[in-house]
Every structure is written in C-alpha cells, then in structure tokens.
C-alpha cells in the first residue's frame, strides 16, 4: 500500500484504481457464478430431476416410523385356529404360551382392543373389525372361496383394500389383513420394545426401582445375564463389535506409527545422505498412500479373510504412508543445535537420537497419532462395512434386512457416540501428553480486557 508511486498523475492513479475494482468485481461475482454453473452441471449429470420419481417415499416412511416405533403382530392361523402374539412378528419376540399383552384377550374368540373404539374379534369362522364412525367389517376366510368380506353400505373407502383373496384395512389405530390362510393385526407403539429384556426373561416389564431391589437381593448376575444375552438387541455382540472397531483403529494407527518412524528417518534429508535410498522410501510412501484404503482393504481381505485383523492391517498400511510423509517433514525441520549440544557432552549416535532428536519431534508425533486415532475410528467403521468386521458389519447387516430400522437407528447412535468419545479422548490425551499444547485462541477471546464487540 505504501509503495504506491506518488508521482503518477491523478488520472493514471484513477485508471489504476478502476482496473483493480474491475478485477475485484470479476472475482467476486465470477467465482460464485462458476460454482453455481458447476453445481447446475452436476445437478443434471446426476440426474436429480428424475430422482424424485425414482425415490421410494414409502421406504422412507417405513424407515422413519420404524426407527422409533415397533409393531406387535397378532396372528391367527385360519387352518388350526391358533392365535400367536409376537413383537415385530419375529420368533425372538413371541409371547410364550399363556402370556399375552393386556389388550389381547385370548380364548375361544380372541378380542383385540386397539383402543379408541377400534376392536378386532377373531371368531371361530368370522373375523370382525369394529371401526368407529364407519361400522363393522366382517370377513370370512375360506380355503376354497377366498376371503368373503361384508362391508357397511356405501362405497368402499380408500383405506380398505379388497380383492378376492385378500382384505386389508389400514386405520390409525392399527392394521388388519385377512387372507385365506391367516388373519393378522398390526398395532403400532412408540419406543424400542424389548430393549432391556426379552419376553422369556422373568425381569421383563419390571421398572428400574424393582430391578434395583432385586439386584440388591442377590439377582444382579442373573439380571445382567438376561440383559447381556438379549436375543433381540444382542447387546453382547454389539459391545464386541464396538470394541473390535476401536481395536482396528488402535492397532492400525499405532502400528503405522511404529512402522513409519524408522522409515521416516530414511526419508529425511538431514539423516540419510544416500539420495537414491531417500527417493525410494519416499516413493514407497507415495505409493502406499495413493493406493488408498479401499484397494488395500480389498487386497488384504483376500489374504486374511473378513475380520478385525484385516481392517487393522488396511489402516496400518495406508497410514504408514501418511505418517512417513509427516514424520520425515518433521525430522527435516529438527533444530541442529540441540543435537550438537548433546554431541558435545560425548553422546554416541543412539544417545544423540534419543536425547537430541526424539524430544523435538514427540509433540508432532503424538498429536498426529492421536488425531489419526480419532479419524481412523470412523474409517474402521467404513472398512468394517466393506470387509466385514466390527460395528460396520452389524450396521450393513441390519440395513440389508430392510426391516430392522430400529436397530439401524440404535447402531447409528452408538457409532456417533463412539466417534465423539474417541474425539474427546484423543483431545484429552493430547492435552495431557503435550503440556505446551494449550489452545490459546479461544481463551484470548474470553479475555476480560479484550474490547467487547458492541458499539457504544
């Protein structure tokens, strides 16, 4: 600014200023326009307009509603007349003989109270659905004639789906489907059912206070065992999966650090006078980094099969390249004076490295290792999803079934908590290990002496 030639005539200065303004304007308006143009290109390249038709909103609705609610199936086998009640219609969630939720009255005729006046009755031959403000829907399933339905007079409303072999009624209180072979009622509830105990456990349905009492009465082990081996939510497997994921990140990151450190010495100009060797090691780093975790995962899973070891090795190999690069750069910036000082006391080569070099690069080393530990927890989830191991595998399995969305939601929450915990933990450890690394900027803003950012 101060170097402007002041002996220029005013006209020339003005022209100069105008030029600068024009350039600024082009940059200021041109860049956003370029970005917009690119995004418009991507919009059409990705065929976003047709996405709206392609997308399955029904899937989206089931996904969202399923993730925070569950349904209980009451099923009547029309051949044998047997009625069973099961949560999510799964065998694992089936109510044992003689046990049923209080809104289902078992007996000769089963009465299912869906509340608000909606009542389904499974009779001996006839299935009745009493819908308030509409009337009673009667259906008679028959092996030969299909499903014969009697509706109240008038047009068939759109929430009733009727065909020769099937009757489906969808109301806000619940759903009823009748086919030749079975009649089924779905009732929806909010929450994650059976999260603590499955129905076959004696502790099902007990409140936390009651459980505490029982635990103090000496049943703590049994309670824990029933919770831990819950077949519906598989707490044990989930805990192992999370442990495996963290293990992958831990082994991969620290292993990479251990492998990369000696190699970094070979790649640093001031420690390795042999040019060709240095060049070779550096290209190895570039190669390993460039091949990318995806390809390493693919190659390694061929050799080791799915599991946490494969994931750990994939992280190890990829990060060796990254660490090698970072460490060798840190080594090249090492202060020579400290090494000379150590040497002047008569230290031999290992002592020079130990006391002259290592203390200088430890902060870089530790902070990088911890930073990668956190980001590799995320990578380990992703690698686990590809190669099969850890929480990533459980997540993909739950998504593939396309119905256990409450489990998917549970795993997602666990993954987020796991990554946030690792983030917090590595930050805490970094602050503990590197005493000089106290972040100042945020403190500076809180300085009481700093001028408040409010106009008087």
């Amino acid at each position: 600014m101060s170097t402007f030639a002041t002996n220029l005539p005013t006209e020339a200065l003005k022209a100069e200023a105008d030029k600068i303004f024009v350039r600024k304007r082009i940059v200021n308006f041109g860049l956003p326009i370029l970005v917009l143009l690119y995004l418009a290109y991507v919009f059409f390249a990705f065929d976003v307009p047709s996405l709206y038709e392609k997308a399955s909103w029904k899937n989206g609705k089931t996904l969202v509603s399923d993730s925070y609610s569950y349904k209980t199936h009451v099923t009547r086998d029309n051949r044998s007349g047997e009625v069973s009640v099961a949560i999510e219609g799964e065998r694992k969630g089936e109510y044992p003989e003689g046990m049923s939720p209080e809104w289902v009255e078992m007996g000769e005729t089963t009465v299912i109270d869906l509340e608000d006046g909606y009542i389904v009755t499974f009779g001996l031959d006839v299935i009745e659905f009493d819908v308030p403000n509409y009337g009673v829907i009667r259906a008679t399933p028959d092996r030969r004639k299909g499903v014969q339905a009697e509706l109240p007079a008038g047009d068939v409303p759109e929430w009733i789906n009727l065909s020769k072999n099937r009757l489906a009624v969808t109301t806000e209180a619940g759903r009823l489907t009748v086919t030749r072979n079975r009649a089924e009622v779905f009732r929806y509830f909010t929450g994650w059912e059976l999260f603590w105990f499955t129905l076959d456990s004696p502790y099902y349905g007990k409140g936390p206070g009651e459980l505490m009492g029982l635990a103090f009465a000496g049943e703590a082990g049994a309670i824990w065992n029933d919770f831990w081996t819950n077949k519906m939510w598989r707490h044990q497997d989930v805990a192992w999966a999370i442990f495996e994921t963290i293990l992958m990140a831990f082994l991969g990151t620290l292993g990479a650090g251990i492998v990369a450190l000696p190699l970094a010495f070979m790649a640093a100009r001031n420690f390795n006078p042999l040019g060709p060797l240095r060049f070779g090691v550096r290209r190895v780093f570039d190669f390993v980094r460039g091949v990318d975790a995806l390809i390493w995962t693919v190659v390694l899973s061929r050799a080791f099969g799915p599991g946490p070891l494969t994931g750990a090795l994939a992280i190890l190999v990829t990060d060796t390249g990254t660490f090698g690069k970072i460490f060798s750069e840190a080594l090249e910036n090492v202060d020579k004076k400290q090494i000379e000082g150590v040497q002047s006391t008569g230290a031999n080569a290992p002592q020079r490295y130990r006391f002259g070099v290592i203390p200088q690069i430890t902060p870089v080393l530790i902070s990088q290792l911890l930073y990668f530990l956190e980001s590799n927890t995320r990578s380990a989830t992703i690698i686990g999803a590809i190669t099969g191991g850890g929480i990533g595998l459980l997540l993909t399995q739950a998504i593939i079934t396309q119905k256990d969305w409450e489990e998917v939601a549970y795993y997602i929450v666990l993954i987020i908590l796991m990554v946030m915990f690792m983030d917090w933990f590595s930050g805490w450890l970094r602050r503990k290990l590197i005493s000089g690394d106290v972040k100042t900027p945020r403190k500076r803003k809180g300085d009481p002496k700093a001028k408040p950012f409010v106009l008087p």
Binding site: A55, F304, G307, P308, T381, I386, R442
Partner: protein
C-alpha cells in the same frame, strides 16, 4: 527449598536427588513402555483370533491376489487402453461426487462456523448448539448416511454426495471456526458502524481475511473426499467404486478391468494430491508472482 534455615544442600544431596528423579522417570517410562507393548500384543492377538483367517496363514498369501490380477492384466495388456477409456465416465462421476460434496459441504461449513464463532455469530446464545451440530455431522461416518439414503433414494451418486457433504460440513465447520477465531474483528466493527447487515459484515469483513485458509482446507478435504466417494461407490453409490466391485465380484476373467480401475484410481489420487499440495502451498505462503 522454602526452609532457608536448613542451609544450602550439599552437592552430594543434589546429586542423590537428581539420580533418584532420573531413576523414577526411567521406571515410569519402562512401565509405560511395557504396558504399551503388552496392549499392542494383546490387541493384535484378539484381532487375530476374531479374524476369519489368521495372520500367519494370510501372510504368505498377501501377494497372491495382486499377482493374479496383474498377470491377467499383463496377458491382456492390449485391452488396457480400451478399459481405461471405458471407465473414464465412472471416474468422472466419482470426481464429481467429491467436488460437488466438497463445495456444498464448504458452504454449509462456512455458515456453521460463522454461527459458532464468538463475535461473529448473530445469535451468541446459540453458539453451543451450532458447535454440537457440527460435532455430530463430523462424527457420522459417510457410509451410514449413504446406506440409509440408498434405501430411500435408490442407488446412484446423489446419496453419496449428500452423505459426504454432511460429513464435510461438520469437518470443515470445525476447521473454519478455528480459522475464524484468529481473524481480526476490526473490519466487522467498521462495517457495523456504517450499518452493514450481518451477511454484508461476514461477506465483506470476514471472508476476505479467512478466504485463503478456507480454500486450503477445502482442497485438503477434496483429496479426502475422492477416496471417500470411491469407497461409497463400493457399497452401491455409483462411480468407479461400483465398477470396481462389479469387476471384482465377477472374479477371474475380468481382472484386467479391475487392474484398469486400480490404475485409474491410483493415478487420480496421486495427481490430485500433488496438485492440491502445490496450490495449498501457494495459498498459505503467498503466490510467487
């Protein structure tokens, strides 16, 4: 030391104290080292037993697959240029996913960071809320959102783009707000004194200060996102990863295609790394012009 009446300690005392200190330090260091090594060993053994194949067996087979792929590719080397051209559109799709998600993520991250920085936030009371939002966005691995979105939107590049953009917004939001903390508030105050609105204050007062750093971080993120979008392709989100999985699941006979994809991916990653390295150097250390 505070007890002055005790007189000054003798040299022998100091030496004893010092050697005791060194001794203790060594013992702690040794314990830590042993703990660390045993943790690594135990972890490795646990991982080994829970793995499908063991390390000792797999160790020898590690090069089998690459040699298989490379030898088959070598036999059909004449087809390679054709394959490279054939997979170019898929590669471009992967790059587009990465670029678009970086752009969208950078824009979202800018807003998140401005809303979460003291002195710049229009609603200071909500700063912790926006911090938590960016923490959560950062914590979600891309694959989680991508898999869920693939179920709703069907396979293709859009789920991957959204997934990576969300993660990028969180990651860049954090980095950007660190940059913002170091920006001077004086231009903002100046603009406020002439009646500028919040958007004007940010666009004219803050962005010019932090722009180079923003771009530098966004470029770094772009490198990472290329890798991420290749991986997401592998789980069904289109692009080169999808082609890779197809040619791999085909098994022997299509390895030449797999090799072509490996080459494309490798060259792209190395090229972008180098380019963005040079660009970032220029941004942080100033242009040579």
């Amino acid at each position: 030391m505070t007890d002055l009446s005790a007189g000054s300690p003798s040299v022998a005392d100091i030496r004893d104290d010092y050697s005791a200190l060194v001794q203790r330090k060594r013992v702690y260091g040794g314990i830590l080292l042993i703990l660390f090594i045993s943790l690594m060993a135990a972890g490795f053994r646990t991982a080994d037993t829970r793995n499908a194949g063991s390390f000792v067996d797999g160790w020898r087979r590690i090069l089998d697959y690459p040699t298989e792929v490379l030898s088959e590719a070598w036999e059909k080397v004449a087809l390679l240029p054709g394959h490279l051209a054939h997979f170019m559109p898929a590669l471009i799709e992967t790059l587009n996913i990465a670029a678009a998600s970086t752009l969208i993520g950078a824009v979202l991250g800018t807003f998140l960071s401005l809303l979460a920085t003291r002195g710049m936030a229009p609603w200071p009371a909500l700063i912790p809320v926006f911090r938590r939002i960016s923490d959560i966005c950062r914590a979600i691995p891309e694959i989680v959102i991508a898999l869920v979105l693939i179920f709703v939107l069907g396979g293709g590049p859009v789920p991957a783009m959204i997934a990576i953009a969300i993660h990028t917004a969180g990651a860049l939001g954090k980095l950007f707000s660190e940059v913002n903390e170091n920006a001077s508030l004086k231009p903002v105050e100046g603009l406020q004194s002439v009646g500028a609105s919040w958007a004007q204050r940010m666009y004219l007062g803050v962005i010019p200060q932090v722009g180079p750093n923003y771009v530098s971080y966004a470029l770094l993120r772009f490198e990472i996102n290329i890798r991420a979008s290749a991986i997401l392709g592998f789980v069904g989100a289109g692009g080169i990863g999808y082609e890779l999985r197809n040619s791999m699941s085909w098994g022997q006979g299509r390895y030449d295609e797999a090799a072509a994809i490996f080459i494309l991916l490798f060259v792209t990653i190395v090229l972008v790394d180098q380019l963005s390295g040079v660009l970032r150097n220029r941004l942080t250390h100033g242009a040579a012009s």
